[in-house]
C-alpha cells in the first residue's frame, strides 16, 4: 500500500520516539541545568547572601530572560544533526517525511521548551518561596500578574514565537555555532533596516533637525527643535492603518513565514 508521503500520525509518533531515544540525555541534562540554575542561584542568594526577594516583579525579568535566551539557545540546536555527516545521513535517510521531522523539531523546540520552562519556573518559584520563608521569614509579595493586561502582555509571547521561528530558520542555515551566527544575522538585519531607514528619512527630510538620528526604523521619526539653549523633539508616528498592519504581521505573519522558509530549507538539505 502506498503510504502518505506528507503526514502520517503513526509515523510521526515513531519519529518522536526515535528523536527522544537519540536526545533524551541532552534534554534531561538541559532541563536539570535550567531548573538547577534558576533554583540554585536564588536559594544561594537567600541562604548565603541573606538577600530576600520581597516582590515578585523583581524576579520577573529573570523569567523573561530565561524564556527568550533559553528558548533561542535550545531552538538553535534543533537541526544540530545536520552539522555532522554521520548524524545527518541518519536524520535524512530515516523513513519519515520532511514535514514530520520538521513538525517534531518545531514542537519540541517551541512548544516543548515553553511548557517545560513554565513548569520549571513554577516549581523553582515554589522552592524559592518556601526556602525564603523558612530561612528569613520573608514572604514574596505577588505584585505581578502574568495574565493582567493580556492585550499588551500577549505581545511578549508573540515576540517569543518570532524569536523561536528566527532561530529555527537559523538552525537550518547554520549547523554549527547556530546560536551565535543567528544572533549576528539578526543584528546585521536590524542594522540594515536602520541604515535603509536612515537613507529614506534623509532623502525625505534632509539632514536638518537630525531626523535620521532620532528615528525607530519604519515606525517613528523625531524632529529636533529649539535651541540654542533649550531643545525639544517632536515625534511623528506612522499612521494608524500602518500600525495595525505591523501588529497583524507580528501576530500572524512573521513567525509562520519564517517557519515555512525553515521547512523548505530543511527539504533542500544535502549532505
Amino acid at each position: 500500500m502506498q503510504p502518505n508521503n506528507v503526514f502520517n500520525v503513526r509515523r510521526m509518533q515513531l519519529y518522536l520516539q526515535k528523536h527522544f531515544t537519540d536526545h533524551y540525555r541532552f534534554y534531561g541534562m538541559g532541563m536539570l541545568t535550567i531548573f538547577g540554575l534558576m533554583t540554585g542561584i536564588s536559594v544561594l542568594m537567600i541562604t548565603v547572601g541573606r538577600d530576600p526577594f520581597r516582590v515578585l516583579s523583581h524576579m520577573v525579568p529573570f523569567y523573561y530572560i530565561g524564556l527568550f535566551f533559553g528558548g533561542a539557545l535550545f531552538t538553535s540546536r534543533a537541526f544540530g544533526e545536520l552539522g555532522s555527516k554521520e548524524k545527518g545521513v541518519d536524520f535524512l535517510m530515516l523513513p519519515a517525511s520532511q514535514f514530520e521531522k520538521f513538525v517534531t523539531l518545531f514542537l519540541i523546540s517551541g512548544l516543548g521548551y515553553f511548557v517545560f520552562y513554565h513548569i520549571s519556573c513554577y516549581l523553582s518559584f515554589k522552592i524559592i518561596e518556601s526556602t525564603q520563608l523558612a530561612a528569613l521569614g520573608v514572604k514574596i509579595e505577588q505584585d505581578y500578574l502574568f495574565l493582567d493586561h493580556p492585550k499588551e502582555k500577549i505581545y511578549i509571547y508573540y515576540g517569543y514565537l518570532i524569536l523561536q521561528a528566527a532561530f529555527l530558520l537559523g538552525a537550518t542555515y547554520f549547523h554549527k555555532y547556530s546560536f551565535i551566527k543567528t544572533v549576528l544575522c539578526i543584528f546585521a538585519f536590524a542594522f540594515a533596516l536602520w541604515l535603509i531607514n536612515c537613507v529614506i528619512v534623509t532623502l525625505i527630510f534632509g539632514f536638518g533637525h537630525e531626523f535620521w538620528k532620532r528615528s525607530v526604523p519604519f515606525l517613528l521619526v523625531s524632529k529636533l527643535e529649539g535651541g540654542p539653549i533649550a531643545w525639544h523633539t517632536t515625534m511623528y508616528l506612522i499612521p494608524k492603518w500602518l500600525q495595525d498592519t505591523y501588529l497583524f504581521m507580528i501576530k500572524f505573519v512573521i513567525a509562520p513565514v519564517l517557519w515555512t522558509i525553515a521547512y523548505f530549507r530543511l527539504k533542500d538539505q544535502e549532505i
Binding site: 502506498q2 503510504p3 502518505n4 508521503n5 502520517n8 509515523r11 515513531l14 520516539q17 526515535k18 531515544t21 537519540d22 540525555r25 555532522s84 555527516k85 554521520e86 548524524k87 545521513v89 541518519d90 535524512l92 535517510m93 530515516l94 523513513p95 519519515a96 517525511s97 520532511q98 527539504k267 533542500d268 544535502e270 549532505i271
Partner: protein
C-alpha cells in the same frame, strides 16, 4: 530499479564530477561500484540515496525521484555509509526504535545475521568497537529487506574473518527483488560476491558488465613468461609471474581477477571496451 539519466553534478562550479551520467541497475543483482579515490563513488551513492541533488538530469529509485526523499522511497532503500551514526542505546532498543519504519523488517533475520557476525544481541552499542557497530548496521540493513541496499566501503574497519562473514551474509540475503550496490576501493573484498561490475572514472561510467559476460569474453591467467603469450590486453607482474588478461577466444572459464580487471579498464580502456561492444 535504479535509473540515472543524464546526471550532471559538481561540488564546485566548472569542476563537474559527473557529466551526463547514465546508469541503470536492476533488481536481483549485486553490483560492485569501483573507482579510484575521488572518482565519485560515494557521491553517486549519495545521489541514489537522495542525500545530494543532481545539477541536471534525474535519479530515480523504484520510480521515486531520490531528491524528494519521500517516505515511500526511504522505506525501500537503506544506505550503509562509510562513516555512520548509531545512538547510545542497546541493540534491542535500537531495533525497537528504528525497525518500525521499515515495513518488511525481519527481526529473526537480524538476530541471525548478528549471530553470523558473532555479535551478542544484548550488548550496548556504546560498548562496541567500530567494526562491531558496522556489523550491527549491516545486519540491520539486510534485515530491513529494502528493495535497494547501498553500501559505501562496507568492509572498511572489518577484520579478515568478518570480511568473509560479510560476503556470506550478503550472498545469502540477495533475492530477485533486491538490488544491492557496494562501493569499494578494496576490490578483493568483493571477490565471489558481486555479479556485476560498474567502474566509474573521469566523470562517467566507463565499464558496466556482469561477471559472467566478463569471464565469457576475457581470460584471466598467470603466466611465467609474458613474451610467450599473444594478445595480452593487460599484465601485472608479481612474485609468481605475470597475471594477464587476454581475449577469451577459446571459451575457457577462468576466475575473474577484479583488481586486474579494474586496473586494465583504467589503463587500457579502449581495446577492452571494444571487446564488449
Amino acid at each position: 530499479m535504479i535509473n540515472i539519466q543524464s546526471l550532471t553534478f559538481s561540488y564546485r562550479k566548472n569542476k563537474p564530477l559527473f557529466e551526463n551520467l547514465q546508469l541503470r541497475l536492476e533488481a536481483g543483482h549485486i553490483y560492485g561500484l569501483l573507482g579510484k579515490n575521488g572518482a565519485g563513488k560515494s557521491t553517486l551513492l549519495k545521489q541514489i540515496a537522495g542525500l545530494l541533488f543532481p545539477d541536471s538530469g534525474t535519479c530515480e529509485v523504484l520510480g521515486y525521484p531520490s531528491a524528494k526523499r519521500q517516505p515511500a522511497f526511504l522505506r525501500e532503500i537503506f544506505l550503509v555509509p562509510e562513516e555512520f551514526y548509531l545512538p547510545k542505546v542497546s541493540v534491542k532498543r535500537y531495533v525497537n526504535t528504528y525497525a518500525p519504519f521499515y515495513p518488511n523488517f525481519d527481526e529473526a533475520a537480524f538476530y541471525n545475521y548478528l549471530k553470523e557476525f558473532e555479535i551478542p544481541g544484548d550488548q550496548q552499542l556504546t560498548e562496541m568497537s567500530y567494526g562491531q557497530k558496522k556489523k550491527v548496521l549491516i545486519s540491520f540493513a539486510l534485515a530491513t529487506n529494502t528493495k535497494a541496499l547501498i553500501m559505501d566501503e562496507p568492509t572498511n574497519g572489518l577484520d579478515i574473518p568478518s570480511k568473509s562473514q560479510f560476503r556470506k551474509v550478503i550472498a545469502a540475503a540477495v533475492s530477485d527483488d533486491k538490488c544491492i550496490v557496494i562501493s569499494t576501493h578494496q576490490v578483493r573484498d568483493l571477490d565471489n560476491l558481486i555479479d556485476s561490475i560498474v567502474i566509474i572514472d573521469g566523470h562517467k561510467i566507463i565499464f558496466r558488465e556482469d561477471v559472467q559476460t566478463v569471464t565469457d569474453k576475457l581470460s584471466f591467467k598467470t603466466v611465467s613468461r609474458i613474451e610467450e603469450t599473444t594478445g595480452v590486453l593487460f599484465a601485472d607482474s608479481n612474485v609468481r609471474g605475470h597475471t594477464i588478461i587476454t581475449r577469451n577466444a577459446g571459451h575457457e572459464q577462468s576466475k575473474i581477477d577484479m583488481e586486474l580487471l579494474f586496473n586494465a579498464v583504467l589503463t587500457n580502456h579502449k581495446p577492452i571496451q571494444e571487446i564488449f561492444n
